[in-house]
């Protein structure tokens, strides 16, 4: 017998070459049996080490062992590589048309534009520290007019303007009745908004007999007209964009003093004019768009809730009321307010 180590390295080289060329995992298994199986030569050599002369045992045993481990590792690597390649091939063949629709089909629902706008407004004021309250839509003349300092002759009281359900009960004409209701329920400091449905006897493209408002009321010992301006500036920027500015114009409302109307700078033009020099259709060339009425709460209103902690000499604050339809109209250019209540799917699908 020749030098066994010589034979081992021959076997090793031969096996390494064969493994490298094995085309698939089946061929590899065959090679594994041939070179490393029970009856293969290398394991036999290893088992026969004990019969060798003592001086050869060490070197032959070590060499054979290294060869066996080396081949086993090689087979393992090669199996992994081949399996990965075979998986790749299988996956590559397992191809779908990804452009087909998802299944099962998931229809998309939408919030009504009035709801999504209301939530947007609510969220802005929640962030500014206001809570949300709601109140009855059918309310007493007391809360809708009297406690809001409306003169006996105020035209809004007319049956031509306001829906009555009884002599002393109306469909509220604004969300403002909740000012006094809220102050009856909670002592100052009070920071609330009141979204809700309101009613006026008016019907054309820019008026519907029902519409929605958000009332705001901030009452404390030190809430100023400047605070109103800052609050509404934050609101205008959140809803209409960071570039917006607001301006307060003196006005008259029975339940605020001083009273103001609030304009937001037009987001459709620059100073009232479009890029082509034409007059802006949204703000009619004024550069400002009226968005709401507001003011410092009139002392006469506080008189109605004096015993609830609202002493007008000590307590002051602001109130405002805005139309949700108007905000939605301004943001989205809805051409006719009646569309809000027609609920045509072609309208509903566009928003929310």
């Amino acid at each position: 017998m020749n030098d066994p180590t010589q034979r081992i390295s021959e076997l090793r080289s031969e096996a390494e070459a064969a493994i490298a060329e094995a085309p698939d995992t089946a061929a590899l298994e065959e090679l594994r049996v041939r070179y490393l199986g029970r009856k293969a030569e290398l394991p036999n050599l290893l088992r026969g080490v004990a019969e060798l002369p003592p001086e050869q045992r060490g070197i032959v045993g070590r060499t054979a062992n290294e060869a066996r481990k080396g081949l086993e590792a090689l087979v393992g690597d090669r199996v992994a590589a081949l399996e990965a390649a075979e998986l790749d091939a299988r996956l590559a063949a397992d191809r779908v048309d990804v452009t087909l629709p998802g299944a099962p089909p998931q229809p998309v629902g939408r919030h009504h534009l009035l709801s999504s706008t209301r939530r947007e407004i609510e969220d802005v004021f929640l962030g500014l520290g206001f809570s949300v309250m709601e109140g009855p839509e059918v309310d007493l003349v007391h809360y809708n007019f009297d406690a809001l300092n409306h003169a006996e002759t105020h035209p809004a009281r007319n049956r031509s303007d306001t829906f009555y359900v009884a002599d002393e009960a109306v469909l509220r004409t604004h969300t403002s009745p909740m000012q006094v209701r809220a102050m009856e329920l909670y002592p100052p400091p009070l920071y609330i908004i009141v979204p809700g449905r309101v009613y006026r006897r008016d019907s054309d493209a820019t008026h519907t007999p029902q519409f929605h408002q958000v009332e705001g009321l901030a009452v404390d010992e030190d809430v100023t007209l400047a605070d109103l301006k800052g609050t509404l500036l934050a609101f205008a920027r959140a809803v209409f964009g960071d570039e917006r500015d607001v301006r307060l114009r003196p006005h008259f409302f029975p339940f605020t003093e001083p009273s103001v109307e609030v304009d937001v700078s037009c987001f459709n033009c620059t100073g009232g004019f479009m890029r082509d020099g034409s007059r802006c259709p949204l703000c009619k060339g004024e550069g400002w768009i009226e968005i709401l009425g507001a003011g410092e709460v009139d002392p006469n209103v506080f008189e109605y809730v004096r015993e609830h902690g609202y002493d007008p000499d000590r307590i002051q604050g602001f109130a405002f009321g805005m139309g949700i339809e108007r905000i939605a109209f301004l943001k989205h250019g809805v051409p006719d307010l009646r569309m809000f209540f027609e609920n045509d799917l072609r309208f509903l699908e566009q928003f929310g």
Binding site: G109, P136, E152, P155, L190, Q210, D220, A226, A234, D344
Partner: protein, 811 residues
């Protein structure tokens, strides 16, 4: 309020273009609505002097005139007016001029003669209806002068929004005060500064006021030798520019003085005032008066009439009577200028639908002092314009005088209060200057200012806060800093109910439903179309006393009507797959405790406020057609029906963790076999079902329409707010299936309930005929159950099903 700039500038001339002045006024509270262009706008309109007028050679009715235009030379104009004559001063438009109606004047040939422009009539200048002849100018004007300098026609007109608290600004002089305060322009003395009249009794005329509460002041002056006729052009021009139609000099003067002072006046033909006596009294219920618009008006008790010896002759403050109206042959005029109780005027004018310039001013509340201001201005004009002779004296029944003397027009203004309310400091001297510019009297009072309110602001400025507003608006709100409230630790948040409501809506949107917003209004016939029995609470409509239309005369008691209406709208537009929901109020004209014969309904009557109707926040859905577009994978064509709707409803209730179940029967508007009410324990939350085909047909809907409605407030009241942690089982469950055969009257829910007594989870996975199959899961918190233990429980379930329900395990 239309304010001609030319007229305004007579009292305060800011020297600003109309629009700029309007914008300044806007920022101090008098909002500019529009600027109306002048009637005549260019240099083509001039004064001409007719040198010669000859008959046209080929036309009888035309004259060929030589007209001197001063520095512009002499021109030839063909004129069709019969009254043209040499020597007249006339209004001429030369070729190139644009008429008020937009027509551009060109050189024209009339029957062979060239006409270089036109001689104008009143109507062509927008001054009246008189087209019979040309306007002859009365005055010493130079030919060639601009017509706009001679007649106030070239003025722009400011249209201003006057807020209801400022009736003083319903007069030109009041607006002039605002111009003065806003721009600093000098304010000229008021037109009533010199009163040509005198005080004392007026001979032969008597006035008695029986209702001093309703008529705090009544003044009258008498004019004789009045010559009724057209007003002079300047007066017509101002009235026209201010938006009023010239009628005749006396009537025009009353209107002109009202426009200037804000105080309405009324002229009687004194010879038609029976007995030369006027009595102001309260009307008797049902009595009638013929007003000067030719109508007979029936009065109500408490309204104010003015009698003469023959009975009612004027409806005070609202409209004069036909009997004493000034006419062409009037020669003696009694000029009434009175103060009326604002609410009484408001009530009468509203009730009779007679809203006039006068009533609109009276109902805002005018000061009693304004009466004599108007008398002074009117007196001068009556004399100057109508050639009248003033009878000495003034009738002045001034009950309000005592009240004025007793009242306190002094208010205190604390500068510190101004700063505290506005959040900006205004120097004390600036406050004083602002108030003085507005006509307030100001004196020092220690650290404060003692302010005297002028009579024309008495009704509006009654508190310190009102003075603060005056300071703020003139100082300029653009000076206000933008700050945020300190809030003192108050946090903003939604309530649990508000968050839960959002979640409920989001769940439905997530399942492909579109939210709708229906009308609160409906008509009571909807109850019949919904087949509601007579005693159903949904017939308790809240009636609207003054609806805008018959189909909006009550408030809805269920969302279903709105949803069916919206479904019809969309189906008519070809949309047959509809998944809609609404989250909104319904209204019941009943107290919450009403004993409702039909038993509890979802819309249980809750939340009534102070005798007001019950409002319920409801969540309703309407579902018809395909649940989803058909899939290319084939998995069937799912359509909305009872179970699909129940699935959507369940998604809401489960999202809110409400324990719920459904129990038949449904409601009369639902399919009797495919409907149920929704409960949480003993609380009825609402209903669910397929809409009865007859109901669907009433809304022109075919096929299966499923719907549901929940009292969302009640649902949320049954949802847990606080969720404590529950330890979850770590050992895997043992799974078993159980198939059973059931008698026809046993509900699936009963079988599931029995199984759930011993199984930890039950899932119905197959129903076929009378058999029903369930997946059951068994688990213990501390170990995996053995087969023997599970066998035991399964056997117990089978035994219980047999004993209690006669349900057998399927072989």
């Amino acid at each position: 309020m239309r304010v001609p700039l030319e007229w305004l500038s007579e009292y305060a001339d800011a020297g600003l273009p109309a629009r700029e002045l309007g914008e300044r006024l806007t920022m101090t509270g008098t909002k500019l609505e529009a600027v109306h262009g002048p009637t005549i706008s260019d240099e083509h309109f001039v004064v001409g002097k007719v040198l010669d007028a000859q008959r046209h050679p080929d036309a009888d009715k035309l004259s060929v005139c030589q007209v001197d235009l001063g520095g512009r030379g002499t021109t030839e104009i063909v004129c069709g007016a019969p009254n043209v004559a040499a020597g007249q001063l006339v209004a001429v438009v030369e070729p190139g001029g644009v008429m008020p109606d937009g027509t551009k004047i060109k050189r024209a040939k009339l029957r062979g003669v060239v006409s270089n422009g036109m001689i104008l009539s009143e109507r062509e200048l927008g001054l009246g209806d008189d087209h019979g002849g040309i306007l002859v100018l009365d005055g010493d004007f130079a030919p060639g002068a601009a017509l706009g300098d001679v007649l106030p026609l070239a003025t722009e007109v400011l249209e201003l929004e006057i807020t209801p608290n400022r009736p003083d600004c319903l007069g030109v002089y009041g607006v002039a005060r605002e111009v003065h305060a806003t721009t600093g322009a000098e304010l000229k003395p008021p037109p009533w500064a010199d009163d040509p009249g005198s005080t004392g009794a007026v001979e032969g005329v008597e006035v008695r006021v029986e209702v001093p509460d309703l008529c705090p002041r009544f003044t009258a002056r008498v004019f004789e030798e009045v010559r009724i006729g057209p007003s002079p052009p300047w007066l017509k021009a101002r009235l026209t520019a201010a938006g009023m139609r010239p009628i005749s000099n006396v009537v025009d003067i009353t209107n002109y003085v009202m426009l200037l002072t804000g105080q309405p006046l009324h002229a009687f033909d004194l010879d038609r005032v029976a007995g030369q006596r006027l009595v102001v009294r309260g009307a008797r219920e049902g009595e009638t008066i013929d007003t000067l618009d030719g109508q007979t008006r029936t009065l109500e008790a408490g309204e104010i009439v003015i009698d003469d010896a023959d009975g009612p002759t004027s409806l005070a403050g609202v409209m004069g009577g036909a009997r004493s109206e000034v006419s062409d042959d009037t020669t003696r005029v009694l000029l009434e200028v009175a103060s009326w109780h604002a609410p009484a005027i408001h009530r009468t004018s509203t009730r009779l639908g007679l809203r006039s310039e006068a009533s609109g001013r009276f109902e805002k509340g005018l000061s009693t002092e304004q009466t004599m201001e108007a008398q002074a201005v009117a007196t001068r004009l009556m004399v100057e314009v109508c050639g009248a002779r003033l009878v000495p004296g003034t009738i002045d029944v001034d009950v309000g005088g005592a009240a004025r003397a007793g009242g306190d027009d002094h208010k205190r203004l604390r500068p510190a209060r101004v700063d505290r309310l506005l959040g900006m400091a205004v120097p004390r001297e600036r406050e004083r200057a602002i108030l003085e510019s507005l006509g307030f009297g100001v004196e020092d009072a220690g650290d404060d200012l003692a302010v005297r309110v002028p009579h024309f602001r008495r009704a509006d400025v009654t508190r310190e806060a009102d003075l603060v507003e005056e300071v703020a608006r003139i100082e300029g709100l653009d000076r206000l800093p933008a700050t945020l409230p300190s809030r003192n630790g108050v946090a903003g948040r939604l309530t649990f109910e508000q968050r839960a409501r959002r979640r409920a809506e989001d769940v439905l949107v997530g399942r492909g439903l579109h939210e709708v917003v229906g009308w609160s209004f409906t008509e009571p016939g909807v109850a019949d179309r919904l087949r509601l029995p007579d005693d159903d609470p949904r017939r308790l409509f809240v009636p609207v006393e003054n609806p805008m239309s018959e189909d909006h005369r009550v408030l809805r008691t269920t969302l279903l009507g709105s949803l069916l209406e919206i479904a019809r709208h969309n189906l008519a537009r070809g949309r047959s797959d509809l998944a809609l929901f609404e989250s909104g109020a319904i209204y019941l004209d009943a107290p919450p405790s009403a004993d409702l014969a039909t038993g509890a309904t979802a819309v249980a009557l809750r939340g009534r406020h102070d005798g007001l109707p019950t409002e319920v926040h409801a969540l309703g859905g309407l579902l018809t057609g395909r649940v989803a577009p058909e899939s290319w994978r084939g998995a069937g064509d799912a359509r909305w029906d009872f179970f699909a709707a129940k699935s959507a409803l369940g998604a809401v209730l489960d999202a809110l963790r409400v324990e719920w179940d459904v129990r038949p029967p449904g409601h009369p508007f639902l399919h009797p076999g495919r409907a149920a009410r929704v409960f949480s324990g003993d609380t009825e939350l609402g209903w669910l079902g397929e809409v009865h085909p007859l109901v669907a047909r009433a809304w022109e809907l075919d096929g299966t329409v499923a719907a549901f409605e929940l009292d969302l407030g009640l649902v949320i009241a049954n949802a847990p707010q606080e969720i404590p942690f529950t330890a979850f089982a770590t050992f895997p469950p043992v799974l078993r299936d159980l198939a059973v055969v059931r008698p026809a009257d046993v509900a699936a829910a009963q079988i599931v309930a029995v199984a759930a007594e011993r199984a930890d989870a039950v899932e119905v996975f197959d129903v076929y005929g009378d058999s029903l199959a369930m997946h059951l899961a068994f688990r213990a918190p501390d170990r995996t159950l053995t087969d023997e233990e599970v066998d035991e429980r399964m056997a117990a379930i089978v035994a219980t099903l047999r004993e209690r329900l006669e349900v057998e395990q399927r072989a």
